[in-house]
Subunit: 237 residues, 6 copies
């Protein structure tokens, strides 16, 4: 069974990264993989959530939303993040927090905004990969007022989806594949090859331990390639 | 008193128009004027609002929102359009409806989505100017299923802001000027030079009839230049 | 084409003004024009909005709502002000703020409440004309604790609607005319004849510069008559 | 201990009833008792709630709200009825439904709107007394399309408050008494002297069976006087 | 006409009381009467509502909700308490506040949570009877940090429903009777026999003074029996 | 480092299962593991979500909420499911849908309600384990109107948490361990040993492939023990 865009099973879609995409945020990236495209920005705000008021350091939070024009047919604007968007923005936030030393940024909140411009599958993992670059760029452009990059960012973060379709594992699903997949897995890893998050879901089917191993191997390979496209952190191997 | 970007009083900011900016909507335009930049899309949805159910033809509605990363400092996402956004999206909708023959589009709704990417003053007027192009492109790309363009679109629409600062009228205010203006006027006109909407507001000062006339003259001139950058409608002079 | 109530084109509806209409607010006016009737009150509250906390002086804000029984058929109560009500209450607030010296009222908020008792067209302009009287009466009844009237109120404010029906300009539209109008204009002016706000909208038609001038002339005339019915401010000509 | 307005214990406040107060609703009454004043309207809407769709006849529902200018200091507009308003409007609705034959009005909903213009205690009971008159007037003005009054309205309805202050029972409490009362009772009765609703609450104190009997006697007397001021239903004694 | 569960008119349903039902709240009771079952808990929170900030002592508030699985068919979760739930939780709160000396508990709020596990009529009165036991247990388990029980709790509280069906008064209605009742009365009384709250409602019928007296007598009898099942307060007769 | 309750690393907490816990739902289970306790019910409702209207078969959805009294200190009732609750109820729904043949249940929705009575870690996994039993019991009690159990339920479902604390993997974390864990993993599996969902999250640390394998092994062992406590499905090995 061939893939809609004729890729082989372990092949990523072509990736394009446009840094400094908007001028108001210190870090802003439009990242595209095939027909999926997300605008990721990182901004620093001089306050922290109420529950953190008595603690040292700062916080990082993420918001994820799809623009109405990102899908066919047009999707409605949501009053609040719905269940799916809420899950995704919590995932983005957790993933980035795992590599940032928030104790060192002072009483500030880093806002990661991920607005999907075009949706063709894999928006959440692409958002994570792009958001890390936006975060890197924001820290870099604020080096005058922040501690050195190498003290703030422990590692890079990238993410990719893997799926099981008719028993076959595939890397980086597009929308048509996403809908057809029996099992859908999202993998978030550091540049140095450690896991941050594994989310494997079999709504239409269950999966064996062997299939799990195969999907993990594909995902690892994809993440290595994405990491290579991200800016390189000094002192992280 | 010189302008922050050294323009003369009746000079527009440089305009850039990127058509076909996203792939999912049949019409999509990123329009920029100086540092203000708006993503405008036009989509057709096969249903009409409830109150129209028993009427012939279709409807056109607009939504306007600022992306959080469009301002410094970051602005919060609004659950719903606030008072300002609500006013603006009603204005955009009215302005475009005045030149479309909605009776001819069948039971469909045209959604105009205007998402501000960068905000430096004049987002609502720029959104109108860009949205008309997105609408034109959407109709053009759907000519196979819609009546001919010249039956659907009676005229083009463009808009611009004018302000009064220390008694001096200025065209196309940037944010710094917007904040300082005593009187703020938004002008929406057709390509053939007729008025669609005039909104002149003097919160910090009142204005005389003579000053009104001067602002109207400046606005007309700017709109003529914007019209020249838009696609040309056949049979409209 | 004669008007539903047989007025000539430049004739206002009969106006009735009942001051001190309710006892709890220091200024309260029931103002009627033909079958349109609005209860306007002005109250002082000893606090300011959060965004003003660090600034000198106070604020004035307006709320506008239609009572369910003001229309046939009954209109539903809105959970929040909808788009239209939101636009109107922002207009009322801006119009009155343009003549009040809020720096002098201390850390207080003036609330203008406009509740429509009967709706037959022109509720927003009638609300402005009545609200100014309520504001005047509130300031007068609080002269013991406020600066002198002439330091607080720079001018009077009145408003009226004008419309274009089949090419003919008419003053002070009733509901039937409002619905039929091609162009709808609301004019807010000071007692001394300066403009505060012009809102001209052509949803069903566009309009020429000449038609604009004619509508402005009619509106000016109507506002002069309304001003004559309002209390007279000392020292304003 | 004398009362703030020097009434004796079993004396009502002076009542004023203005019928046909607004023109859009078929029944509309401004009813005042001392400084409390409520605008009560009754309107017929040609639809029924969803849960009634399969049932014969119609429904009656009530809405109660306080205008912001009805109290000192100004009270905030509520987005939705809060707990108190919700209780009150359910009480008003139940009370009137007990005397209307809703089976006979066809698939219609009668809306009773009670908007408090001035609040000085006893707004809910005054609203019931006034709403019944508005309902009577609405039915009367729609006799051309409705069954005869005597088939629709079984009886009249009036209501009054009674309280216990320092062990002393008092009729028709004003706000100052309401706040001071140990026990607060609202009584709704028919013109023919039967009970519709008794709500006796002792938040600050409990009360004995004897005290209950005394309060009921006072309330009955007040309701008889209110009934005498309402229009008389034919055939009800 | 016999009752669905063959009780005589003045007979309560069998009552079961499980104290210490959950471990996190200092007082927690599952109380059942026939097929109605409510989980009542009492917790102390170290803060008070904003409006109490400047006052001495604390507050007691109640929340009432039905679990979706408590009815056939399943009832939907409510975003907020609806009108009915709002009325009920206000009643529960008032009833308990009438016997607690809140001045003595310091700046704390006692939360009473009543979650209906099974609904077969009489949930609000059963909730009150159970909530008082939860409150008693909570105070008892916190005697180390609170004033002595006899200073905090003046009396016990119990509640029961009475109804009029076809002219016959019945005690403690189950759901089938509740729906059929012409008059529905809820009675809240202290252990020493004084009234806290009387709510008698005749939506489907009105009732005479004699019928009122009969219902009150039945209710008193039921409350005496419920009081006997509650823990005994020292020094209250 | 010993565990707070002195278990060994691969030891579950003691489990208690009370079936038929409430009478209104056809399946209802109170399941406890140590101090965590959840009320799980399964109900059939005779309608389907709008988006399913044109499809064959039915749907299964889950709602998860914590009762306010389930934690110390008391947690506030949420108006709507917050981000966390939304994630959890989506997980519960997906997990159960993976083993139910919804095509065969007709146009019905199965509601799974999980209300946490006591929260001491692991509420979401315990809810899944208990909800499957409630679902089994509901199907069993409705066998008269549903297809045979073995056609509807393909397999059983159980879930457990695993964590990494100071590099050590532990099964079935209690709250104190949950808070201290560097990595938190939730595992949902079928009775026959296949994966339904893996969610491994390292907010405070990242984890290696070897650690992942160890956690998976512990989880599998726990799920086997939970499966043994659930009712046995005929024909599933």
């Amino acid at each position: 069974m061939s893939r809609p865009d004729h890729r082989v099973c372990d092949e990523l879609r072509p990736v394009r990264i446009d840094r400094n995409f908007v001028s108001a945020a210190p870090g802003s990236v439009r990242i595209s993989a095939g027909n999926t495209s997300v605008l990721c920005t990182a901004s620093f705000v001089d306050s922290v959530p109420n529950w953190m008021k008595e603690q040292e350091g700062g916080w990082l939070t993420a918001e994820y939303r799809m623009l109405p024009c990102s899908t066919v047919p047009r999707c409605e604007r949501k009053d609040r993040p719905d269940g799916r968007a809420s899950e995704i923005q919590r995932l983005i936030g957790r993933s980035l927090r795992s590599v940032v030393d928030l104790k060192r940024i002072g009483p500030r909140t880093i806002y990661i905004d991920c607005d999907v411009l075009q949706a063709d599958g894999g928006t959440r993992t692409l958002a994570i990969t792009g958001a890390w670059i936006a975060l890197y760029d924001a820290i870099k452009s604020l080096q005058a007022v922040l501690p050195p990059m190498e003290l703030l960012l422990r590692d890079s973060v990238a993410a990719v989806s893997v799926g099981l379709i008719d028993g076959q594992a595939r890397l980086d699903l597009c929308y048509l594949e996403d809908v057809a997949a029996d099992v859908d897995m999202n993998l978030v890893m550091t540049g140095s090859g450690r896991f941050i998050e594994i989310q494997g879901t079999g709504e239409h089917a269950t999966f064996s331990g062997e299939q799990l191993d195969h999907m993990l191997a594909l995902g690892r390979k994809g993440i290595e390639q994405l990491t290579a496209m991200q800016p390189k952190l000094k002192g992280v191997s």
